[in-house]
């Protein structure tokens, strides 16, 4: 019985160590699964979205045929047809009687070129009868072909573009009329029904306006409520109730705030539907509990000796709090504010309830007019059937995540730089 290997507990011990190793492995596995999901999620979005940041543009000499432009009604003329003819001319093809050639050609070039011609002709009607060169994006499907997302190997019936169109695209590329480049339109345009013209700027501006409203309400109200609860409130049943209430409000599903916004702000008070103002107020109510909890934590971290010191030299309680405690808690309060605003930036569900889901072309300019915000834009594009919108959705998500990363990084830097340990 001197040999350890012969000891009756040895076998049992081995089993126990095996169980220990297994248990540790489960833990590792769990962490690996969680991190793998993170990598897959972000990787998938980047892979799907990065191609949106480049696009193909085409330059075409367009003959402004006087026979096809009505001088009396410039806006009523069909400039897209002129562009299609220009494409055919560039390819050395001619229009057939049924118009199928020009129809195929028009499916390759964005309508943006037609609008450009309209603007030019309106500015200078003397251009009619001359040939001008216009530059603009190709249609989203053509762009997908250039990027290799639509493949010739797919059966002709299963893709948006037919063989002839693909051959034309190849020839256009070879002739040097099509160039790849940075997709600046995505960052300078609002939403559009045409994927190649849809941009994220409108939603970004809408988000900024809405967050401004949220910040102007949630930060002062939240900070002052927290100051009262932490520094002034008597300890009694009422304040306990308020505390429990705030903790529970933080866990109420966000969509319920949307119902509140719809019933009270829109239907009862007549607030403008789908505006940054209404959305911002709803999100402010939603962000308020988090704001209060964060501020209270920051106030709690200020040691009592600061308060005692101020009170001892004759400051009133209000002076103590506002001249000493709050300034010392400011980095913590700011960190909490940025984090709750970044949370509000990513919120979607309550905004759908207050009507922010409408299609808003262009850039919002008024707090009481209709607007879209980044996460809702993502939702709208995700619902769009066209394939090019899926890419834009992923790119929109990248923009949204970039904003959130900037906000969170700011909060972390603030915390690192100004955090004081007492």
């Amino acid at each position: 019985m001197t040999d350890a290997a012969q000891h009756p507990s040895a076998k049992h011990l081995k089993k126990r160590y095996a169980a220990e190793a297994r248990f540790k492995m489960y833990g590792r596995l769990a962490i690996t699964i969680a991190l793998a999901f993170l990598v897959i999620l972000l990787g998938r979005i980047v892979l799907q979205g990065y191609s949106t940041f480049t696009t193909n543009t085409v330059s075409l000499p367009v003959y402004l045929d006087p026979a096809r432009i009505d001088r009396a009604d410039l806006s009523g003329s069909n400039y897209d047809y002129l562009v299609s003819l220009a494409v055919l001319k560039a390819l050395g093809e001619t229009e057939d009687e049924l118009g199928t050639m020009s129809e195929d050609a028009s499916a390759l070039i964005s309508r943006d070129l037609g609008f450009q011609i309209l603007d030019k002709v309106k500015a200078d009607p003397g251009l009619i009868g001359k040939t001008i060169t216009v530059t603009g994006p190709v249609k989203a499907d053509a762009d997908l072909y250039y990027k290799g997302e639509i493949k010739r190997s797919v059966a002709e019936g299963n893709r948006k573009l037919n063989d002839r169109q693909l051959t034309w695209l190849d020839r256009l590329k070879k002739s040097g009329r099509v160039h790849g480049g940075f997709n600046s339109a995505f960052f300078t345009h609002g939403d559009s029904t045409e994927p190649e013209q849809a941009g994220i700027l409108g939603a970004a501006v809408g988000s900024a306006m809405m967050l401004l409203v949220t910040a102007l309400i949630a930060i002062p109200v939240g900070v002052m409520a927290a100051i009262w609860l932490e520094e002034f409130a008597p300890k009694n049943g009422w304040t306990d109730l308020i505390e429990v209430n705030i903790n529970n409000l933080a866990a109420v599903p966000s969509i319920v705030y949307g119902l509140l916004g719809l019933a009270v702000f829109i239907n009862w008070l007549g607030a403008p539907r789908g505006s940054p103002l209404t959305g911002g107020i709803v999100l402010a109510l939603m962000a308020l509990p988090t704001m209060i909890i964060a501020t209270r934590a920051a106030l709690k971290a200020v040691p009592p000796s600061i308060r005692d010191g101020a009170l001892a030299i004759g400051a009133s309680r209000t002076q103590t709090v506002f001249h000493h405690v709050v300034p010392l808690a400011r980095p913590g309060i700011m960190t909490g504010a940025i984090l709750s605003l970044s949370h509000a930036l990513g919120e979607t569900a309550p905004l759908l309830m207050v009507g922010m889901v409408a299609f808003v072309p262009g850039i919002p300019s008024s707090f009481i007019g209709g607007a879209t915000v980044l996460p809702v834009q993502v939702f709208i594009w995700e619902n769009a059937s066209e394939r090019a919108f899926a890419e834009r959705t992923a790119a929109g998500i990248m923009v949204l995540l970039a904003f959130m990363i900037v906000m969170n990084a700011t909060a972390i830097i603030l915390r690192r730089r100004y955090e004081r340990r007492w």
Binding site: E20, F23, R28, V221, A225, W228, N245, P253, V256, L269
Partner: protein, 480 residues
């Protein structure tokens, strides 16, 4: 616009009141500031507050409630021609009147005959009322500002306790801000409960909570007989519960084991890297998860099950094979799994806090008796932390029940009573979104049903939260 000007004017008025009061305080002390009870700035602030605050409050209240008051004033007397219309047409009539009076775009309805005369008369009346309201509000504000100044200003002297008075104002402001949090809850309960009450007037609560047939579209046609039984929400509850269960099966163990590993095994270097990464996962907006579910996870699952099905077709399990070959993207499993991913960091960080709250002495005692780490965890730490872990799981469930975007983008719209994770189900939140986005009148049972669902959702999540938070708090106190 006029309001902004009025508010700016009020601000200027307060500023001059501040200067006047400050000067008066200084002169009352004869220039020797030390004999003043309060600093001159406090005197100035106090008078400025009395001048500006009540008037500003009045203006803001009028800005918020003015349109409603005007609406009520216009509708006080309904012309006989309008009274003949049904309630919905009357509402359109009055909203058109107010829109026209305010110079905004009105609805496409044309009001003819005697309605046209009534419309014009009411529009003129509306214009008068809104001008009257504006004049009244601004006039009252001016009176309030002057009265405030005249009451406050003469009271200033060197012994006046201006600082204490100003601090009284500050306290009041702080209390009002705290009350906003309470008012939010009251407003949520009141608005959702009121709209639900209106809904339950047309649909019996019993049918709603225990009915098994959900097809709100049918009720849009009022003449239809079947309109009555279409609001049975049981399939929605079942769908919500199914997706929540799938999510918890994934997030529960993975989150808990991550927390155990991070708090008991991992070195500080690993923790320093993994924790922020998990926080990123927690900070990703839910709409991103929804996109991921709809365009990545859904198609992967579908092709996986279709692939398995293709092997089974024609074999002894032909029926199952046929079924698997036909599953769609929008299965409960997709939404459940992605929601589970979303909940992993939530469960993990809550459990981490709870495991860390178990006193070190329990660990030391167990290890000293010769237990291995895993035995210590499973037999000492987890039993000690059990109430807290249960609380954390309940909070996660409540998050899963209330989550909207993932299910709205990845789950289906068909209300089915099924426990099959490969089937399409719909949830309470999806139905709320579907019922309330898009154009429809606000008074139909269809839109009001959303509030009935919202009330149920609020009550269920609130109950879960209260129980969970109580458990967690009791548990923390136990070891404090």
């Amino acid at each position: 616009m006029i309001f902004l000007i009025a508010l700016a004017a009020l601000l200027a008025l307060s500023a001059s009141a501040y200067q006047l009061a400050r000067r008066r305080a200084v002169s009352s002390a004869g220039g020797r500031l030390a004999i003043l009870h309060s600093l001159p700035g406090y005197h100035g602030t106090w008078v400025a507050l009395w001048t500006g605050a009540p008037a500003a409050l009045l203006l803001v209240l009028f800005l918020i409630f003015g349109a409603r008051l005007e609406g009520a004033a216009i509708q006080a007397q309904t012309p006989p021609a309008v009274a003949k219309l049904d309630a919905q047409r009357q509402a359109v009539f009055y909203s058109d009147v107010q829109a026209t009076a305010a110079g905004k775009a009105r609805s496409a309805v044309s009001w003819d005959g005697e309605l046209k005369t009534a419309f014009e008369a009411k529009t003129a009346e509306a214009r008068n009322i809104s001008t009257l309201g504006l004049v009244l509000a601004i006039g009252l504000a001016v009176v309030l500002a002057l009265a405030g100044f005249l009451l406050a200003y003469p009271r200033l002297n060197k012994d006046f306790r201006a600082r204490n008075r100003v601090e009284g104002w500050t306290d009041l402001l702080l209390v009002v801000c705290s009350a906003v949090a309470v008012l939010t809850t009251v407003a949520i309960v009141a608005s959702v409960a009121w709209e639900s009450f209106r809904f339950f007037q047309s649909v019996s609560p019993l049918d709603f909570w225990f009915g098994t047939d959900w097809s709100p579209q049918i009720a849009m046609r009022e003449d239809q007989v079947a309109a009555k039984g279409a609001f049975g929400a049981v399939p929605l509850f079942a769908g919500t519960f199914l997706i929540m269960a799938i999510a918890m099966i994934l997030a529960g163990p993975v989150g808990l084991f991550s927390a155990i590993y991070l708090s008991e095994y991992a070195g500080s270097a690993v923790r320093a890297w993994v924790k922020p990464l998990l926080e990123i996962l927690a900070g990703v907006p839910t709409v991103v998860y929804g996109f991921f579910a709809a365009l990545t996870v859904g198609p992967i699952f579908r092709s996986f099950f279709n692939w398995i099905g293709s092997f089974l077709v024609g074999g002894p399990l032909d029926g199952l094979g046929q079924y698997l070959a036909g599953v769609q993207n929008q299965m409960a499993l997709t939404a459940g799994v992605v929601m589970g991913i979303m909940l992993i960091p939530f469960v993990s960080s809550l459990s981490d806090d709870i495991i860390n709250a178990v006193p070190q002495s329990l660990r030391d005692g167990s290890l000293a008796m010769g237990a291995t780490k895993s035995e210590t965890i499973t037999q000492v730490i987890l039993p000690a932390a059990l109430p807290g872990v249960v609380g954390a799981m309940m909070l996660a469930m409540s998050r899963a029940i209330g989550e909207t975007m993932i299910v709205a983008m990845a789950a289906g719209l068909q209300a089915k009573l099924t426990a099959n994770p490969l089937d399409t189900v719909t949830t309470v939140t999806v139905q709320i979104v579907t019922l309330l986005t898009g154009d429809q009148e606000f008074d139909s049972p269809k839109t009001l049903a959303a509030f009935g669902l919202g009330l149920t959702l609020f009550v269920v999540t609130l109950t879960l939260n209260i129980i969970a938070l109580t458990i967690v708090r009791k548990y923390r106190e136990q070891y404090d």
